[in-house]
Symmetry: C3
Subunit: 251 residues, 3 copies
């Protein structure tokens, strides 16, 4: 038996909205501790790591750990139908092999979708030695990416002692966003060693576009390492982490 | 001579905007009592019944009953150009065989369109024994239809003693909106006998999509009968009624 | 050396946004007095005349007159990335043959674009004897043009002693916008002799669509002469003028 209830649908709505651009199918594990999901995108460039612990729910009834295979495109269609402030109930209908989502607001709306078989892939557990961290408003990253899109497909992230720099260049021109200590968009900057790497703009755009511009994103960066982006979920109770592989910079 | 004036263009603007999705051409009767129009959609699944009595006008000068054939697509283009709070004057230019619409606001704008020949078809006058009535916010119906669209082409409306249910199902999943006594979206529920029938989502969407989500729609329903939707026009002085044939439910 | 600074990027953003619909490439002259640009559209129907004097800048450092060839489509993409209230710095990077634009707001963003060769064409200096002038809200002209679009490709502008009339007609119908003395949309009307001419709607739409509906446009008109449209730039310090050739009216 799986039956869990959240005070507002917007927490899950936002998370699913951010995953769906990268991942089509995923296995969600409903455990006594909470809901977990980990998956790679089809081209194995991005890894999503999602956790929503019991504390993020108003009611949480799970008799035994259950893995539900979900088509995220279909689930996102349903989540999009909920209003942000609707109460949300998730249930697993074993007989029908369906998950149902109930939105309680002006009316009570229950939508269900068939579950699918999702093979649980062996996922890498990368141990990465990030050397620099920045807490940044999502709007700043979105700006840096949209600027970079004007000139090319790749974007460089660079953290030095004093600032985060998002830049791109091609024969079409150059773009460079600088966010330094004291700037409103920078909440925190923590640098052991300067770090720099280049990434595909489209992937970073897919990851960040569903965020609200005032959300805070934590960036972890190393020299030519993957970038790790953490979003605050359910007032910090949950976790939504994206890890994106770097592009090799042509020297 | 036909020359009538309304305090605000939005009344007619909304009505034309709701008809135009179903009907392309229509014969409007300008009579001493008011304006009337009745027409079926090309596939004879939906009937529109529209009346705007003299009381809805600020000035109303009609010497003799006149029937004007109007291409609703063209008329809707013109009505869309008016601002909601513009004063609106309708006139029939006999010499040119045109109808002119004058919007008075920041400037005075007069747009005219050629009249067309519309054969007045024999229209059915169905006597339907509806057994259940619900007064519902348009937004609730719009939600129920958009939910249902996720899983299929048809939607079931059902009124029982306690609630209105809008539902759909297919191999893609199920959707079900329940609106019960006490819910904010339900203004009135009146049930002689439970009623249920299935309809095409696209038609119901076309009928309801131009409504504001806070408009009240009166639903009349019977067992496998057409659905009758009434919109309040000009603070209840006018009438805009849609009748839509049911789909046969596969058992 | 070219390095100039404006308090808000929106002044240039709006001007470039209005030019880009007509002109793809242009030579901007950076002189000690200010920035100037004059160009015709590819079909030689419209002339743009733009001036932004030193007074419109917070800082203005130009050592010697410099002509920069700019692809307006690319420049508009960059200007669109700036927020209206961002501070804007324009610089010419001689070594790289690039112009850079720096937006200072929540972060500091510097975007550069390669300069291009623009042949400076011989431009006509028409001496036109306009006989009528009207100062009008942009929203009124936009309304008149969108109305006219319903019935055809051309629109007639007419100024008489008492009013401005924007009209169109075809077998599809007629449209006519009248703006008279006392109407809110008309700021000033100055008539030596009644004037009238017909123009292409698409061109006038391209010129006026980026304007805010509350901007004031000054119209100069003569009998079958080009129309001259002046927009107020930087609180009247600058000049953005469009001159559009008339269409010959079929009699």
């Amino acid at each position: 038996m799986v039956s869990v209830r959240m005070a507002e649908s917007k927490v899950l709505k936002t998370c699913i909205g951010m995953m769906v651009n990268l991942i089509e199918e995923a296995a969600f594990k409903f455990t006594p501790e909470g809901i977990k999901m980990k998956a790679m995108d089809p081209s194995h460039i991005a890894l999503v790591d999602f956790e929503l612990p019991v504390a993020a729910f108003v009611e949480y009834n799970i008799e035994q750990p259950t893995v539900l295979g979900i088509n995220l495109l279909e689930m996102n269609k349903i989540m999009s139908r909920g209003k942000a402030e609707d109460e949300l109930i998730l249930e697993f209908d074993e007989k029908q092999n369906r998950m149902s989502l109930t939105f309680k607001g002006v009316s009570t709306r229950r939508l269900s979708l068939p579950l699918i078989d999702v093979r649980e892939a062996e996922l890498p557990e990368p141990k990465l030695q990030f050397t620099a961290t920045a807490e940044v408003l999502a709007g700043v990253i979105q700006d840096g990416l949209k600027d970079a899109e004007i000139v090319g497909d790749n974007v460089r992230f660079e953290i030095s002692d004093n600032e985060l720099v998002i830049s791109a260049e091609s024969e079409k021109g150059t773009t460079e966003l600088k966010l330094g200590k004291g700037d409103k968009g920078l909440a925190k900057l923590n640098v052991k060693q300067p770090a720099r790497a280049m990434f595909n703009i489209k992937y970073l755009g897919d990851i960040t576009k569903a965020a609200s511009s005032t959300d805070v994103i934590t960036i972890n960066l190393g020299m030519d390492l993957p970038i790790q982006l953490d979003f605050s979920v359910a007032e910090g109770k949950g976790k939504l982490r994206f890890l994106l592989a770097p592009r090799i910079e042509a020297e």
